[in-house]
């Protein structure tokens, strides 16, 4: 029902637009061929909005952002941590490692990490995610030459706001050991 209302409101807006004399004059002037194209395009757009199969209908996706009431706490994020041979750790920024994915990788990573933590992920998909972590680790290692990377950790970051103060908890959901390569002189 709400999906139908979602389509009807923009159609109503279009209807109000068509009530303007200038719009009506223009519609009459452009001819049936152009009018047909307009109707077809707008229909495709409406179908994309109503059907909610954004992956299949891309680029005619469903346009909805921040529509869900999101009261739950803590808030979670997926992060990656590098563990070096000297025991130190640092955060890996996947957005900086794979710049092309900087806008749209975090949701998928969070989804996968949540499923791993709930033990709700097939072995095959887990293996693929490990390969992703390995690629991330390799890219990280290529940018950090003074330390050897021995482990990449997938971490769920839980953020809670209590009395205006932020409390963060990290939970390791997956650990991947990398093969360390020696970078020093004289090593084969």
């Amino acid at each position: 029902m709400l999906g139908l209302v979602e389509i009807l409101v923009p159609i109503f807006v279009l209807g109000v637009l068509c009530a303007y004399a200038s719009v009506q004059e223009w519609i009459v002037s452009i001819g049936p061929g152009n009018l047909c194209l307009i109707v077809v395009f707008l229909t495709i757009l409406m179908v994309g909005q109503g059907v909610n199969e954004s992956r299949k209908l891309f680029p005619f996706v469903r346009w909805s952002m921040y529509t869900e009431v999101y009261e739950k706490s803590p808030i979670s994020n997926g992060k990656f941590q590098a563990v070096h041979s000297d025991g130190t750790t640092s955060w890996i920024n996947p957005a900086a490692s794979y710049v092309s994915l900087s806008r749209n990788n975090h949701e998928r990573v969070l989804l996968i990490m949540n499923k791993i933590s709930q033990q709700n992920l097939s072995r095959n998909v887990t293996r693929v995610f490990e390969e992703y972590m390995r690629a991330l680790g390799n890219r990280y290692q290529s940018s950090v030459t003074n330390k050897d990377l021995v482990e990449v950790r997938a971490i769920l970051e839980h953020i809670q706001i209590i009395n205006g103060k932020r409390s963060i908890q990290h939970v390791v959901v997956k650990s991947l050991f990398m093969v360390a390569e020696n970078h020093g002189p004289g090593n084969g």
């Binding site: 303007y20 680029p59 469903r62 869900e68 957005a95």
Partner: protein, 308 residues
């Protein structure tokens, strides 16, 4: 009270306006992808990619080849070259088609490795629309665009602007229909801001702590969301109301900049595509962008003089 006649934006568009917008859009895409290292994606396991719409129709060897280093390198090279070629009138139509296809492929590849986000999508649809209408113009009109109003140019620009505006309208509608008052009354906006500000992004900053610590800033965030949602829903009226369009063009870029700072979400291509909301036809024909002479001063009873 005298009535003010509203004129439909781009109603008198001519081929030169259409070509200007086409060149602008493809220049935008050129710079968007010039430094984008998409060939790095060849390092990722192909199984990590979930095919997106048309990419799912490709035979597997071609799909794998597309995601290889040489495949992505070639794709980027074709994209950049064809975008630049749209500046040359002789090759404009073919270049636009190739560029548009390349841009769609790149967007498909990146979304295959991630989730279906909305950045770049509206500009991509607009670019596709404009490319389609280039083929409805004659070859001569594409090569030597005139300043004579024509139905095809007008339809192209009105439809592109309407489609672009409708994407905002859909967002605003969905937010009101599904979220409603609950979105603004509770902690949704705050929690969304905290979550988004903590995710990894190109630039490492985080203003959410500062925002959360200030009740005034949180209130402004919620009120701002409400105002922006209304403007999103009403976006198509930019086509018929100069004043609303002016207000929209002041608010929405500011909103997008705020979203970059607070939510780490950038819609830079959308901000640039707002060129569609400018009266380019009037500008190209020597008129001022905002024709104050047509409206004149507002009378004390609030009535506006009719257009002479």
């Amino acid at each position: 009270m005298k009535k003010v006649e509203s004129q439909l934006l781009h109603a008198n568009a001519h081929p030169r306006t259409l070509i200007l917008v086409v060149k602008f859009m493809f220049t935008m895409w050129f710079f968007r992808y010039l430094f984008d290292p998409i060939t790095q994606l060849s390092e990722l396991p192909i199984e990590y990619s979930s095919p997106v719409s048309f990419l799912g129709w490709l035979p597997l060897p071609i799909y794998i080849g597309l995601h290889s280093f040489s495949g992505l390198f070639l794709l980027k090279l074709v994209l950049l070259t064809s975008c630049i070629s749209t500046w040359y009138s002789k090759y404009r139509r073919g270049s636009a088609f190739i560029a548009c296809t390349s841009i769609a492929l790149v967007n498909g590849v990146t979304r295959g490795f991630g989730h279906i986000n909305h950045a770049e999508v509206a500009p991509l649809i607009v670019t596709g629309l404009l490319t389609l209408f280039l083929y409805r113009l004659s070859k001569y009109q594409v090569q030597f665009p005139s300043l004579q109003p024509c139905k095809t140019s007008s339809t192209a620009l009105v439809l592109a602007t309407l489609v672009f505006a409708l994407t905002y309208s859909f967002v605003g509608t969905a937010r009101i229909v599904h979220g409603g008052i609950g979105l603004l009354g509770g902690e949704t906006i705050t929690n969304s801001m905290i979550r988004m500000s903590h995710h990894d992004w190109l630039l490492e900053y985080n203003y959410s702590q500062w925002m959360v610590a200030s009740p005034m800033m949180l209130l402004m965030l919620k009120l701002g969301t409400a105002v922006v949602t209304i403007f999103e829903l009403a976006a198509p009226f930019c086509l018929v109301s100069d004043r609303f369009r002016q207000a929209w063009l002041m608010l929405m870029p500011a909103f997008h900049l705020g979203a970059i700072l607070v939510f780490k979400i950038d819609f830079i291509e959308n901000m640039l595509t707002m060129i569609l909301f400018l009266n380019l036809t009037g500008w190209l024909s020597g008129q001022r962008l905002i024709d104050k002479a047509r409206f004149g001063p507002i009378a004390s009873d609030g009535a506006l003089p009719s257009i002479g």
